[in-house]
């Protein structure tokens, strides 16, 4: 019984990590006023990049960083279009998703002789489990705490992002730019720069999230790996009222529903019905979140310094 609880808690944390990393990206981007609908594409590209580099790099963290870079590059394109040129953010996000997913599959085939799946990454090149061996295998502490390092990285980064947004000047400026860019602009805050940086950072985080899936959760990239997790992360941001703490709780909720899928999956309940559980829960949570009352006031609206009449 205790083992079962341990298993569920541990697996929940494992599934939460990629969502959390991606959601942190969403928090940064949306607090700055830029829609983070493209997280899915950035996450996918990150997942591919991590798994692909994992075959060539010396260790996992280079692959992890490469994933972040890939996500950030795609996000940079997005920033140019939306912040730089004032494009409709939803449209550009759709483009980012196409590019991220298409690009991942395309380059997968190019680098790996036409395959849509990267070769599995060997254990020493996967994200390590730092607490492995500390506890007797199968025991409760082992099930809960013996996680991939990305889980701890995710929790640490969540703390950092919280501190950054609420206590530092840069964080306050990000939030200001998302609420009233005109006011911030007048006071000398560089709206375009801050938004662009937030977007690029969000891409990096999404890339990390993808890596947390492809070289931690599993050992390779395949087309069905991400399957909407990027969007789920966004749902977590909205449900969490655009705060990192709230997003964490939402991600835990989604992560545990995925853990339950695995847990019950061995017990003869049709896997498809279970698979739809996380999405259904996300939908219910979204409905309960009652829309956009607490969204950053300028979210989704391109900012151009007004010429007055």
């Amino acid at each position: 019984m205790l083992e079962d609880v341990g298993f569920i808690v541990g697996t929940s944390l494992m599934f939460t990590a990629p969502l959390m990393l991606c959601a942190l990206g969403g928090v940064l981007s949306e607090n700055a006023g830029v829609t983070a609908l493209g997280l899915e594409g950035m996450m996918t590209l990150g997942a591919f990049t991590a798994a692909a580099s994992g075959n060539f790099t010396a260790g996992p963290w280079q692959a992890f960083l490469a994933a972040g870079l890939a996500g950030a590059s795609l996000a940079a394109l997005y920033a140019v279009a939306t912040v730089g040129l004032g494009s409709n953010q939803v449209v550009s996000s759709i483009a980012v998703n196409f590019l991220g997913v298409g690009g991942s599959l395309f380059f997968c085939r190019v680098f790996f002789a036409g395959a849509t799946m990267t070769p599995p990454v060997s254990l020493d090149r996967k994200i390590p489990r730092p607490l492995n061996g500390l506890f007797p295998p199968g025991s409760f502490p082992d099930l809960v705490l013996n996680q991939y390092a990305t889980v701890y990285v995710a929790l640490l980064l969540a703390l950092l992002v919280w501190f950054f947004l609420s206590k530092t000047a840069a964080g306050m400026r990000i939030r200001a730019v998302g609420e009233n860019p005109a006011a911030a602009d007048c006071l000398g805050v560089r709206v375009g720069l801050i938004r662009s940086l937030s977007v690029v950072l969000s891409g990096a985080f999404a890339g990390f999230g993808g890596a947390a899936m492809s070289i931690a959760l599993v050992s390779s990239f395949r087309p069905t790996l991400i399957s909407g997790h990027g969007f789920m992360a966004l749902a977590a941001v909205i449900a969490g009222r655009w705060k990192p703490q709230g997003a964490l709780i939402a991600c835990l909720l989604f992560g545990s529903s995925e853990a339950l899928v695995v847990f019950f999956g061995d017990r003869n309940i049709p896997s498809s019905l279970l698979s739809l559980l996380p999405y259904a829960i996300a939908l219910v949570v979204l409905a309960g979140a009652r829309g956009t009352a607490q969204a950053p006031a300028a979210l989704g609206l391109p900012y151009r310094r007004e010429t007055l009449n």
Binding site: K167, T168, A169, M172, R173, R175, A176, E179, N180, A182, A183, A184, D185, C186, L187, G188, V189, P296, A297, R305, E306, T307, L308, N309
Partner: protein
């Protein structure tokens, strides 16, 4: 403090020479010179559209002049953005505040100039600095209050503190009293005097003569983009100022009502309505509007007017109380039903709520009736009938341009407002609710609108007018009701009403 007339650059903090600005073919500013001195309150007086805000926006860097130069402390400076202006010691409080609603007063003040301690924002130091400034200039605020929840007067003080926190030497206030009650205006006058006393140069953009007389040292009058005159206020009379400002005779006394006051058309009984945050904005409000009269509701913006209008129109839920229209219960009915019962509405914001700008003029004119014959039949629109109707309206209301198929967005503000009015009046509603019907319109258009409203009343209909402009209320309304904190605190016959008494009621100082 009387000073010699301008032209002497001695002691001048800011000098603007030959400023010209064009908007399309309109010369918003035409070769304007202006000098601002330390310790002086300089009023920039003129009607709507005279060019006052444009001139100051140029000084604040929000737009660039087509010609002219600016000298700050004798040094020629190009101000290309507000942050440059701020660095030069110029601060501006706009009509529509630039504040982050979700932040506290303190956060708004320090944004962009945050004091830091070891990487974090040093809130304690910020608070201390702001408290010192507040004390010195008499600007009492609650630094922890969320701006979104603060009153307009409080927000204004925060805006002023924002400028002072950035060491502004010149403070530009754009129509600061437009949103204040008479008592709050007194408070502002004190603040302005204190600022001048401490050596700041204050520019007051206004169209209100009384303010100029009260607080300004020097006055520059603008008309049609040109500087008409600059002189010390002590040497001028109100009449002189008015004449220079308008350039011709003042408008005549209010139009007399030519219809008798009839039976009660609308009765509001003890109404309670919440605002967007769930807080009661209308608190036990009762009033009656009779056929053949215009009842004007005056009060400072934010005392429940918007919520009252929305509740009557069915766009906001009434939590308790009743709305009875010609004997019929209309409380919480759907907007469609209320419209069909004979209620018309001219909303406050014609572009947001009154018109669908991307639809044609004709389509906008049938917005409320497109579902019925003759405009449609069994779900199919009859474009010919719609066109005919639209052309007739355009002709009789003199809407320009006269093409009914162009997008409503292409028309001027005055013509857009005429479309809204025409649409409503053409339906001949028993009760017409008009909110700020002449907002942002030039005097000519405003006069046309006033005429149309008066004519509707003269036909024996009832009009509920909500206005923030006391003069307009006096001019149009037969009775004036003052709203304060969600209730009617006094009803006066317009002819007999005294501005002082109204002002008192507006700021809660009455028996209400």
């Amino acid at each position: 403090m009387p000073t010699a007339t301008a032209d002497l650059p001695e002691g001048a903090l800011v000098e603007m020479r030959g400023i010209t600005k064009l908007f399309g073919r309109t010369r918003a500013n035409d070769q304007i010179d202006l000098t601002l001195r330390r310790g002086e309150v300089h009023a920039l007086l003129g009607e709507n559209g005279a060019g006052k805000s444009t001139l100051m926006n140029i000084l604040y860097g929000r737009c660039l002049p087509a010609a002219g130069e600016i000298f700050i402390r004798g040094v020629k400076t190009i101000i290309d953005a507000p942050r440059t202006a701020i660095r030069c010691g110029i601060g501006m409080v706009h009509q529509h505040f630039l504040l982050v609603q979700a932040f506290t007063a303190l956060e708004n003040i320090i944004l962009g100039r945050e004091p830091l301690k070891r990487g974090r924002i040093d809130l304690r130091r910020a608070q201390a600095e702001v408290a010192e400034l507040a004390r010195r200039y008499g600007l009492a605020i609650d630094p922890q209050a969320r701006i979104g929840d603060s009153s307009v007067a409080m927000r204004q003080k925060v805006e002023i503190l924002k400028a002072l926190y950035r060491k502004a030497e010149v403070l530009i206030l754009d129509e600061p009293t437009a949103v204040l009650s008479p008592a709050e205006v007194d408070g502002l006058v004190e603040i302005v005097r204190e600022l001048a006393l401490q050596g700041k140069s204050v520019v007051l953009i206004t169209h209100k003569l009384k303010e100029v007389m009260r607080v300004a040292d020097v006055c520059t009058i603008l008309r049609n983009g040109r500087r008409i005159a600059t002189f010390p206020v002590a040497e001028a009379s109100a009449a002189e100022l008015a004449e220079k400002m308008i350039g011709h005779r003042l408008p005549v006394a209010p139009a007399a009502a030519t219809a008798q006051r009839g039976p009660v058309t609308l009765r509001v009984e003890d109404l309670y309505v919440n605002n967007g945050s769930g807080v009661p904005a209308v608190r036990g409000l009762s009033l009656e509007v009779h056929a053949g009269e215009i009842l004007g509701i005056v009060g400072v913006d934010g005392n429940g007017q918007s919520e009252l209008v929305e509740a009557i129109a069915g766009l906001r839920r009434i939590t308790s109380g009743r709305v009875v229209f010609r004997g019929r219960e209309l409380t919480n009915k759907r907007p469609r039903e209320i419209i069909e019962s004979g209620l018309g509405l001219i909303p406050e914001d014609r572009q947001q709520s009154g018109l669908v700008l991307d639809l044609s003029v004709a389509e906008n004119l049938v917005l409320k009736d497109f579902r019925k014959p003759p405009f449609s039949w069994r779900g199919l629109l009859d474009s010919r009938a719609i066109s005919t109707f639209a052309r007739e309206i355009i002709r009789s209301y003199d809407i320009r341009p006269s093409d009914e198929d162009i997008r409503a967005a292409a028309l001027s503000g005055g013509n857009q407002q005429k479309i809204v009015l025409a649409r409503e009046i053409a339906r001949d509603p028993e009760l017409l609710v008009a909110v700020q019907p002449t907002r942002g319109l030039d005097p000519g258009s405003a006069a046309e609108i006033h005429g149309l409203l008066a004519a509707h009343r003269n036909r024996g209909r009832a009009i509920l007018l909500v206005s923030f402009d006391l003069d307009e209320a006096h001019y149009l309304a037969d009775r004036i009701a003052v709203i304060f904190q969600g209730r009617i605190v006094g009803i006066l016959e317009s002819a007999a009403a005294d501005n002082l008494e109204i002002g008192l009621l507006m700021s809660g100082g009455g028996a209400g």
